[in-house]
Amino acid sequence: MEKERWGSRIGVILAVAGSAVGLGNFLRFPGQAAMNGGGAFLLPYFISLLVLGIPLCWAEWTMGRYAGVRGFNSAPGVFTVIWRHPLAKYLGGIALIVPLVIYMYYVLIESWCLAYALNYATGDLMREAGQGEYQKFFDEHVGMAENGAALVKDGGQWVVVLAATFLFNFVLIYRGVAKGIETFCRVAMPLMLVLALIVLVRVLTLDPHPDHPDQSVLNGLGFMWNPQPEKLASPGTWLAASGQIFFSLSVGFGIIINYASYLSQKDDVVLSGLTSSSMNEFFEVCLGGLITIPAAFVFIGVVQPEFLQSSFKLGFVALPNVFASMWGGQLFGFLWFLMLFIAAITSSVSMLQPVIAFLEEGFGLKRHASAAILGLISALGSGFVLYFSKDLVALDTFDFWVSTVLIFVLAMVQAFLYGWVLGIDRGQEEAHRGAHIRIPRFVQYMLKYVVPVYLLAIFIGFCWQDLPSRDIEKFQTDSSHMATDRDQRLSGHLLALLKANDVAPPDEHTVVADPNRPGEWRIKDANGRTTHVLVRDGGQLSVRQHKAGKVEGILASDAALMSVLFIVAVLVFLMLLIHIAGRRWKAQGRFDNLDALPEVQR
């Protein structure tokens, strides 16, 4: 089988940048920055970029090319080339499951962007401004109310859009690395830039809100960029900044290592890696940082934390309100969602390539056979996420356990392989083969000592923050206010007191005394989930908001539990395939005399 190659230097850079630039650049970054100190957030953000992001990118580029010239493109093969140990290929399995499972739900979000763009094109989304209208549209569209609702929405029109998006991805991947991915990215990336610049100019020239002159673009920029230095004292800010860099640059996805494996021995990896990273930063800081929040601010005023925390609410509820109110909103809404769709598809197509590469080199399959098998597996996963749409539980579960937990695990494995197995001396020598700029020596020491520790610290921080449930104190009042009516609902007086203190229990709720903890009551919603906790301590009644951890989330929801089991099933299936592929490689002697291959010696 003829080895695939990138067609040009700029082509691979655009493909890697396209893989990194996604919805997170335009929706997640602005929300994280505004919530975690505004301009002050940029300090830990850029430190993380320099210490964690760019060095890890270079390591992935270097390892990918190193194994690529020795005949391997898939992560199980790449890891085994670097670490000749039977365990290595199974560790490489993480670099297959991460992009595969992310693709399963990411393609769904991508189809939402396309559906929104189409609805703007037809004018269906130009509705009366108001959070309720667009929230309702989004909820109905994604099937938030009940499982399976998205399948029948508008006679299955949304499923058709999903199928078209899915098919488009597979057409690109079927055409191969150079003719499919590279050709598409060479058009898509400049187009995305033009669309983003058009929207940016429109946002920066917006007039203040006619009824609220203080809601101006300048004040919106102030909301986004004015520093709150006190936030730097909070570990959460540093955690959020590191996480944003990590997810944004696509390190630990298994994609860069695969893309770099299609380079030749003399192709540059250092300048290419830096260029693709800086392109991603351009879309994130220069465009995402100037568009999303100022636009939302002009039309809805101070952006509430519920919007900043949720990319979906910001992108699919807040911004349609903005377009509904602005001159030319239909056109700019269409351009915005078309841009998001392009950003998403350049990312999603990159998620398919690592598994395609594995099926081809692990089993000697032709492109059509490997694409068909991958299509079947990923369609099963996307169908699973599409069906279990209630409260987006399946999507959230996939996102957390794969896009947060497994990505960190994979990044730590890669840092270990580069720093401690390949070694920083050999790593530097390999990186500098054909390089047009040099990596400073201290970066190699950072990769060996600082990056693994930094990654571990962030990983522990994320687990500490997200896994356990916790009750957050909202306010205290006199315990004599504690009262419920005969239906076990909060008394009218207590309910009014809670609402006056910005605590909003669900309309349909019950108050249940905790049998294990005397003096504690749990406010539960219609689904039986705890939303708030009331604790009597002496003469005080403490009102706390209950934040369910991921572990409680799995145990409390059948859909979440099934989602985790689905991920485990995919992982086991992939490990089985890797085991079989490993036996084939061994029988073929693929790992013998790797350094004697003509390409390596050239």
């Binding site: 040009s8 230097r9 700029i10 850079i13 505004g38 301009g39 002050a40 940029l42 850029f46 609220h212 203080d214 809601q215 101006s216 300048l218 004040n219 919106g220 920029l221 102030g222 909301f223 960029w225 004015n226 520093p227 003399k266 192709d267 540059d268 300048l271 290419s272 830096l274 260029t275 800086s278 392109m279 930063e281 351009f282 800081v285 220069c286 940082g289 100037l290 601010f297 005023g301 101070v302 047009h436 700029i437 306010f475 205290q476 009042t477 006199d478 206010h481 007191l497 006056a500 203190n501």
Partner: protein, 83 residues
């Protein structure tokens, strides 16, 4: 003064509302000189980096030309046996 408000809030539950700082209004977010500086420096640094990288990449010769060797670089392999 916070201690005073907190004491009153503990004594009179209804005063808890007053103890909280009032929510910020859009007018409170006017872009400050420090905000301007951070925005310009951040955007400027990223823009400079991406322009530098792109200029470097785009000014390189095509890969196929880069890998061609000139006559003086070609190692014919016969120098060791010259004697």
């Amino acid at each position: 003064m916070n201690w005073l408000w907190n004491s009153i809030a503990q004594a009179i539950p209804a005063a808890a509302l007053l103890a909280q700082s009032p929510p910020k209004q859009p007018a409170d977010y006017a872009l400050t000189p420090l905000g301007w500086t951070i925005m310009i420096v951040s955007v400027g640094c990223v823009l400079s980096l991406v322009i530098y990288c792109l200029v470097r990449v785009l000014s390189l010769p095509p890969i196929e030309d880069e890998h061609l060797k000139g006559p003086l670089e070609i190692d014919t392999g016969d120098t060791e046996d010259a004697d």
